[in-house]
């Protein structure tokens, strides 16, 4: 098993190298002028485009620019983010907790709701419950996240005056800014930091701001999980061992909870990697609409402003998360099924 993991970790380095070459290559297809123009916010500064190209070596060959970038990354310098107005590494730690907080709260809900809905739907196949959840899943799956988020915002914040966007209310935000010594930012996530500092009001306020983003995030991701779980359940429920158990008169709840559900969960592991990707994608729209400055928002802003160092770093990070999550899934599979380790 250890050898298998080491082999896969070695492979991970190559994958990341490939991802970096690919992203760098794609970004290099933009002309030096266009990349230099990212530093130009008004026509008044356009005179300086040639000087910026010279200063940052944007006209140098691909391998020179890539080599320089790798050198800098090795030193821990990921570059300067125009969008964040600070070094990329520093900005990362500002934005990452916001996205992590959203996904930490959304993921358990996705798993609980997705598995429960999928199980019930599969067990009670073709029932009213099954049809309605499937329709809801199709709607959730098809509706653009951005639109869904906007609808929630209009209804809850616009008409009902509940769940304002942002991360914290103005009053508490001011309190935190005024008391840097009293309120320690252990995790950068207000929900958790509120608890760790013994400030339940901050935790509750942060949660209030998270209700709509979490609902949106859950709706986006849950449909996939539900569908996989449902088909897994249907497949398992039709297998001989279940039929035998039924014939022996075993309790129906015990059959699907103790036997079928466990086996149906295995395919869910397969889609876990896709769930990570979906969460990242969902975070972009959620963070833009609900004004939460996290990784998704940062990536969207950087893409529109051609903030090269950020695009490189965030894409690498997403690649790393994706590859790592797939590695974990593979290891889990190898653990479950020893035959995989032999390949």
């Amino acid at each position: 098993m250890t050898a298998y993991i080491i082999r896969r970790l070695f492979f991970l380095v190559f994958v990341l190298f490939g991802v970096s070459i690919l992203i760098f290559g794609l970004l290099s297809t933009f002309s030096p002028e266009r990349r230099a123009a990212a530093y130009v916010t008004s026509p008044k500064q356009a005179e300086n485009i040639p000087l910026i190209i010279q200063e940052y070596g944007l006209d140098k060959p691909f391998y020179v620019q890539y080599g320089k970038w790798v050198q800098q990354v090795a030193k821990g310098n990921l570059g300067w983010s125009l969008v964040a107005a600070r070094p990329v590494a520093q900005a990362f730690w500002t934005y990452f907790p916001t996205t992590l907080e959203l996904n930490l709260l959304a993921s358990p809900l996705v798993i609980i709701v997705g598995i429960w809905l999928g199980t019930m739907s599969g067990v009670h196949r073709d029932s009213f419950f099954d049809h309605s959840t499937r329709i809801a899943a199709i709607v959730g799956w098809s509706l653009p996240t951005f639109l869904f988020a906007l609808i929630l915002l209009m209804v809850f914040y616009g008409y009902l005056g509940m769940f304002s966007p942002g991360i914290l209310s103005s009053k508490l935000s001011l309190w935190v800014a005024n008391h840097p010594d009293e309120f320690v930012r252990y995790t950068g996530m207000y929900t958790f930091d509120g608890l760790l500092n013994g400030r339940l009001d901050i935790t509750l306020n942060a949660l209030r701001h998270l209700v709509l983003p979490v609902i949106t995030q859950v709706i986006v991701v849950v449909a996939l999980l539900m569908r996989v779980m449902r088909s897994g359940m249907i497949e398992e429920m039709n297998k001989d061992y279940i039929i035998t158990a039924k014939a022996k008169g075993a309790d129906f709840k015990t059959i699907y909870k103790k036997h079928a559900k466990k086996n149906a969960l295995i395919p869910v592991i397969t889609v876990a990697g896709q769930l990570v990707a979906l969460s990242m994608e969902g975070s972009i729209a959620v963070e833009v609409v609900f004004s939460r400055q996290g990784m998704g928002w940062w990536l969207a802003e950087s893409a529109t402003q051609l903030d090269m160092p950020v695009l490189m770093s965030v894409c690498m990070f997403v690649g790393l998360v994706f590859v790592t999550s797939n590695l974990i899934i593979d290891i889990m599979y190898a653990y479950v099924d020893p035959r995989i380790r032999l390949h």
Partner: protein, 577 residues
Amino acid sequence: MKRIISVLACVLLMASVAVAASPKDTFVFESYGTVRTLDPACAYDVVSHQRIMNIYESLIFFDGSATDKFGPVLATEVPSAENGGIRDDGKTYEFKIRKGVKFHNGNELTAEDVAYSIKRHMVVDQEGGPMWMMLEAVAGVSSTRKDGKIIDGIFEKIDKSVEVKGDSVIIHLPRPFPPLLAVLAYSYGGVILDKEWTIANGGWDGTVKNAANFNGPAFGAEPLQKIANGTGPYKMLKWTPSNEFIFQRTDNYWGEKPELKTAIIRYNKEWSSRKLALQNGDADRVTVDAQYLSEVQDMDNVKLFSVPQLSVTGAMFCQKINPEANPNIGSGKLDGEGIPPNFFADINVRKAFLHAFDRQMYIEDVWNGNVTIPTTPNAKGLPYSKEEPVYEYDLEKAAELMKKAWGGKVWDKGFKMVLTHNTGNAQREAAALMIAENIMSLNPKFQIEVRNVDWKDYTVGYRKFMYPLFIIGWGADFPDPDNFLTTFMASTGPYGKFMAYKNDEVDKLAKYARFEIDPDKRRDAYYRMQDLWFEDAPGLILYQKVDHFAYRSNVDGFIPNPMLDHEWENLKLLKKN
């Protein structure tokens, strides 16, 4: 499962309990501008300017809504020829420095701080920064570098140009520069730093011999990028870039104590969310773009100010288009399949395009009557602005001119070309479509395609002479005709150059008027330049920008000024009832 649902429901209920809108002593402004730097020598955008000018102060500032009258701030009076502050035919400016002013860290303001600050900004002169204005005035050049190398003796020149004499600071100019007061009031050249604090924080040490080490810092490497210590009414409590900026009232402010204790400027790019924040009172002000104006106009408890800005957008005819692999001019010949690179060099073509623009319909249909169109680039609100005749909307006249153009070849052969505007600007797109459709209606052989280009590409494209007709805007660096007429018309101006428009008389007038101190002579020169705008028809002015300021009705104190756009807020004037 039921238990989980009950717990979740409880949490939701507790979390949904409404909290009060923005506190009474706090002003919350939601906008989408981002701050790049707090270093006054390097910032060159309105958002950074707003933050800087509420923390730091300059020697003088605009007097209320005026752009040509100033009031003293850190100077005790505005220099003028009458009070002896401006001498030597406009080559010497003396500023008497206010006493009893303290920086936020407790240090006292001295004349030495003022002289150091003015010099320090020019010494730093970051690539693409705003210091060209001060350098042009003080050193007669627009940069401290030429071809990437520092100009010999430039720092000595800067050093000698600013002098401390008792409690006064004297600026010596190589030649008169009438816009200097406007530059010092609005631009960063006049922002005053604490010398001791700046040096302690890695800023220029004040010596000429070390000046080169502090020149042209890379983006983000400027020492005062994220710290600030000014004399202003507010200090920075917290800045989370692209998230929120919190101002806190200072206790030791020398002037009248502002009413608001705190101000939060929060980044919110999504309009729906901004609008709802204003509606619910979570924001006291939000930025409203023109296309959303109608959504705010009738909102309860909201008051709206629409302020014309010193910012002009026009369609520029390029008279020397780059023919190299340029899809915008088709075949590159007058054969019905394209246009020649000098298509717009024929004044008949330019005038025909001007006659094809329906100003009235544009104002009403596109702007709902909420805009004015200046007749020249010297927008309304600028000194010496003059009403010129306009090429009225007349398609018959346009057709006649097209028949005359290029000896009749344009009319016989027809042409194909692309008209460009930058992506995402609905008003510019509407103007482009209007012009294109009207020109095409003249003759079925005329074909114009309207194409939008991403701003980053657009900046590069027009500078490479790729666009036959490009739509672009210009906002004031300082409120003076020089900043507009030279920009749009001089053959060396930022737009004149890329229109390849050259009129020797214009060039001569632009150079002369910039340094002329006699207001009458200056006025005559700028009047003549505006006449020439009509006569030569080098471009078409489309609109003067109008910015909208939407406040909750309990906020008072806003004073409109055409130099201060919708990202601006003068916090010390505001009150909340």
